[in-house]
Each structure stands twice: as structure tokens, then as C-alpha cells.
């Protein structure tokens, strides 16, 4: 479970609203079920008590919503940021995507988010409610009289298992403790694929990407995908397309998307979280991050404001494209 409670966040938000420091609060709202939360804007204390929630399913990265909301709402917006969200927040700031003056950011700790798919795998369908205990979740279902207890660690999302940092890199106020940058094994999966043969890699991605239904959820949730007009929606871009077509179409979409966010992606994992087809899209981004780290030096997008990303930078002695062979590539 999370170390800060919904109640404490609610109270802080209500008081900031009350004293007029902020005009609105960007947070998570209860959906139909406890585990399907949606990002929401709250403008009154009552709304907060009614709907605001912070629990093991508050995965959504709220930073992207600031773009639109800071333009729509007069006055400051309070936003709750988990550690990984703060990286996106910083990255968007570097790209001048919103006015920092219009935001009041509160950093909140995160003990990792739960993956509902993993829970379903354990308890089955028909989940009605989920209660958080110390280190476990009590899952109520239609079919069981007693709630089933599952350990939090067991159902952590993939991205939280490979959490890169518990540190908040940007905030106005911090609730709870300041964490640290962690050493993660987030590139292990990429390396595994790199170790395959070209045919196996092709087959792997063919299998994954052919499931894409082009719902654009990955793009819409991605805090780096914030273009005023996406190239895939622009008839003049030459790559406009809205529906899944041939086999390649998806690859084109996902390669271009990964390339466009390369150097800007903070590895927040939203793309994979929101994918209804469970395509491990974050692996494409991680591949770019890994390659750039290994070729041009360690770089974490969003770590600082106003960094120069590897792809808008160069050094005179960069290796040649033919020499940049990281992991993959049949050496035969």
C-alpha cells in the first residue's frame, strides 16, 4: 500500500484550494471500480472528498494534463506527482510546454503501483473491491465470500518492478520522504531480445506489433507525445494514417513514435500501461535509451530542467553508424 493516505492528500489539497493558492487540483478519481482510476480535475473541497483517491492504482502520470489544463484554467493548478512523474514534469518544462508559474507541484511518495492483470491472474474475474493493507491487497470478488489476500510485491507492475528512481526531481512541496535514484535492471529485457537472432527478433516484434489496433492510447497517454498536431494526424506529413493497415503499418507507427520521443522519453512506462493489447511498447523506448546511454554517455531525460538531449547534440568523435552495434545484430 501507499505510505501517504488519500485523506492526507485531500486535506492538503482542500486547504490550498481554500486559501486560494490554487484554483484547481489535478488528481486521480475513482472510476466504476476501485482499480480503475482516471485523472481528474477538482475545483472544490467537496469534489475532493467525493472522488479523489490515491492508492495502488493511481498509475496515471498527471504531468501531461498540465499542458491543456494550465491553458484552460485561470489561476494555479495543484498537481500530485509521483517520483517518476516528476521526470516527465521536468522534461515538459524543458520543452516549454507549460507555464511553471501556473503550477503548484506536490511530490508524493510511491511504493509502486499494482497491475490489475496480475491480480486477475491470481484471483480470477469478478473483482468488486480492493482494500489495501500493510503489504498486501485484500481483493473482494463476486464469487468468493472472503476477500483474497495478494501480496503487493507479487502484483507490482512491470515498470515498478524496474523502478529507476524514487527521487522527486521537481516540486514545490514534498509530502512524505524524499527517495533516491535506484539502480534498476530495466534494460535486462532489452538485452534478452538483443541476444536473439535477427529472425527471432523479427518474429518477436511481428507477434507483438501485429496485435496493435491503432487505438493511439500509447500516444495519448505518453507525456512526451505532446505535439500540437501529431504527424500521424497530419495529412501533409506523408505518414498520416489512422487505422491499422498492413503488417508494416504498425511498425512504422511505433518506430516513428519511439524515434520522436527518443531522448525525451523519461521511461515512465505509460505507453505499456495503457496498451489494451499489452504490447511491451516501453521496450522500444528503452532500447533507444540504452543505446544512447551506451553510445553517448548516461542521460536521463527530465532529470534536470533544460538539458540537451543526445539527439540534438553531438560530439566530434561520435562513432559511425556502422560501428554502433549494441547487443543485437547477428554477428555471424
Amino acid at each position: 500500500m501507499q505510505t501517504v493516505t488519500t485523506k492526507s492528500l485531500c486535506e492538503r489539497a482542500a486547504s490550498l484550494l481554500g486559501e486560494g493558492t490554487v484554483a484547481a487540483v489535478l488528481g486521480w478519481k475513482r472510476g466504476e471500480f476501485d482499480y480503475d482510476l482516471t485523472p481528474a480535475v477538482f475545483t472544490a473541497a467537496e469534489e475532493l472528498t467525493e472522488g479523489f483517491i490515491y492508492n495502488d492504482f493511481s498509475g496515471a502520470n498527471l504531468s501531461k494534463y498540465l499542458l491543456k489544463k494550465t491553458r484552460e484554467i485561470d489561476g494555479k493548478i495543484l498537481v500530485f506527482l509521483k517520483p517518476c512523474d516528476t521526470y516527465s514534469f521536468n522534461q515538459l518544462l524543458s520543452e516549454h510546454r507549460f507555464d511553471r508559474e501556473k503550477v503548484y507541484a506536490i511530490g508524493i511518495p510511491c511504493s509502486g503501483m499494482a497491475d490489475i492483470q496480475k491480480i486477475r491472474k491470481i484471483v480470477g474475474e469478478g473483482i468488486t473491491a480492493i482494500e489495501a493493507c500493510e503489504n498486501s491487497l485484500l481483493v473482494h470478488t463476486l464469487y468468493d465470500d472472503e476477500p483474497i489476500s495478494v501480496s503487493c510485491a507479487e502484483v507490482l507492475t512491470e515498470r515498478c518492478l524496474n523502478c529507476k528512481s524514487k527521487k522527486h526531481v521537481a516540486y514545490d512541496e514534498l509530502i512524505g520522504d524524499e527517495g533516491e535514484v535506484l539502480t534498476s535492471n530495466r534494460f535486462d529485457e532489452v538485452e534478452k531480445i538483443e541476444a536473439l537472432s535477427a529472425d527471432e527478433r523479427f518474429a518477436f516484434w511481428q507477434n507483438e506489433l501485429s496485435r496493435c489496433i491503432r487505438c493511439n492510447a500509447c500516444r495519448d497517454a505518453c507525456p512526451a507525445c505532446t505535439c500540437e498536431k501529431c504527424v500521424f494526424d497530419n495529412p501533409n506529413s506523408g505518414v498520416q494514417s489512422k487505422a491499422p493497415g498492413g503488417e508494416f503499418e504498425e511498425k512504422l507507427f511505433h518506430i516513428i513514435r519511439a524515434y520522436h520521443v527518443a531522448g525525451r522519453c523519461t521511461d515512465c512506462g505509460e505507453c505499456s500501461r495503457v496498451c489494451p493489447q499489452n504490447i511491451p511498447l516501453h521496450l522500444l523506448n528503452r532500447k533507444f535509451i540504452k543505446d544512447m546511454n551506451e553510445t553517448y554517455g548516461e542521460y536521463q531525460a527530465g532529470e534536470y530542467d533544460n538539458q540537451r538531449a543526445p539527439l540534438v547534440n553531438f560530439s566530434l568523435d561520435d562513432p559511425e553508424p556502422s560501428d554502433v552495434v549494441k547487443g543485437g545484430f547477428d554477428r555471424a
Partner: protein
């Protein structure tokens, strides 16, 4: 097997106006032959080449894409090819990650004086792509006519 049509690859070559396109012209002036499969698109600088162009070419049935620019340090725009070098390094590595044959893409630095290098590079590239056979993994079947 005689009646099987010999595989002629479609090769798109992006050449920067100042060095490589001039190098290609020099190859022509010196009558240095390379296969007609190579079709050159002139761009002001190698850094004008968007990865989307390369993917587009593959999607539309190209079997190989080669990008030629001035040697690092000699860019007419002083730094363009340094960006090209990074962009293409990353793109090619990603294509490799997706299981696309590495020999279908290439970056080569060809100066305006290197007509011979241009021709040799093209000959070698066409040979490699021909050996790989038609590009199946990146083409969009809908675009085939």
C-alpha cells in the same frame, strides 16, 4: 530456374548537395559504373534526411537505403552530418533490434572529390542488398502495385 526474373533491388540513395551529390556527379564524369538500381535523391545536407523518409522508402518497396554526406568536419553547414551520424546510429540500431537486416541501411561519407569512392560504395551496397534479396520485413504490402 532460368525463367525466374533476376532480382533487381530498389536502392534509394540520399546525397547531400555539397559533397556526395557532387561525388556522384564526379563518378559520372569519370564514367565509373555502378548499377542502375541506385536512384539518387538530392538533399541540401545529410541532416535533412528524416528517419521517416527511410522508413517510407522501405514501406514503399525499397530494398536498401543509403545516406551519403560530407565527411564529419567537412559539412557545408559545419555540423549537419554530426547530427546525421547520431540519428542514423540510433535508427539503424533500432531497425536491427526489430530484426531488420543491417545491410539494408548504410551511411557513407563521400566528399566531392571521391567519385571513385562513391561508385565503389554503391557497387558494394547493391551487392550486399542483392545478396539479402527482396525486402520483406519492412515493406507495406498494400503499397505494392
Amino acid at each position: 530456374m532460368q525463367d525466374v526474373k533476376e532480382f533487381k533491388p530498389v536502392i534509394v540513395a540520399f546525397c547531400c548537395n555539397w559533397c556526395s551529390y557532387a561525388g556522384a556527379d564526379l563518378a559520372g564524369s569519370n564514367r565509373l559504373a555502378y548499377p542502375a538500381d541506385v536512384k539518387i535523391i538530392r538533399v541540401p545536407c545529410s541532416c535533412r534526411v528524416n528517419p521517416m523518409f527511410i522508413l517510407r522508402a522501405f514501406q514503399r518497396g525499397a530494398d536498401g537505403v543509403i545516406l551519403c554526406g560530407c565527411h564529419p568536419g567537412d559539412c557545408h553547414y559545419s555540423t549537419g552530418n554530426y547530427y546525421t551520424r547520431r540519428r542514423m546510429s540510433m535508427l539503424f540500431s533500432m531497425l536491427d533490434f526489430l530484426g531488420i537486416e543491417r545491410d539494408r541501411t548504410r551511411v557513407e561519407w563521400v566528399s566531392a572529390a571521391e567519385g571513385a569512392k562513391f561508385a565503389a560504395t554503391m557497387n558494394e551496397f547493391v551487392e550486399k542488398v542483392t545478396a539479402l534479396g527482396p525486402n520483406k520485413r519492412l515493406e507495406d504490402l498494400r503499397c505494392k502495385q
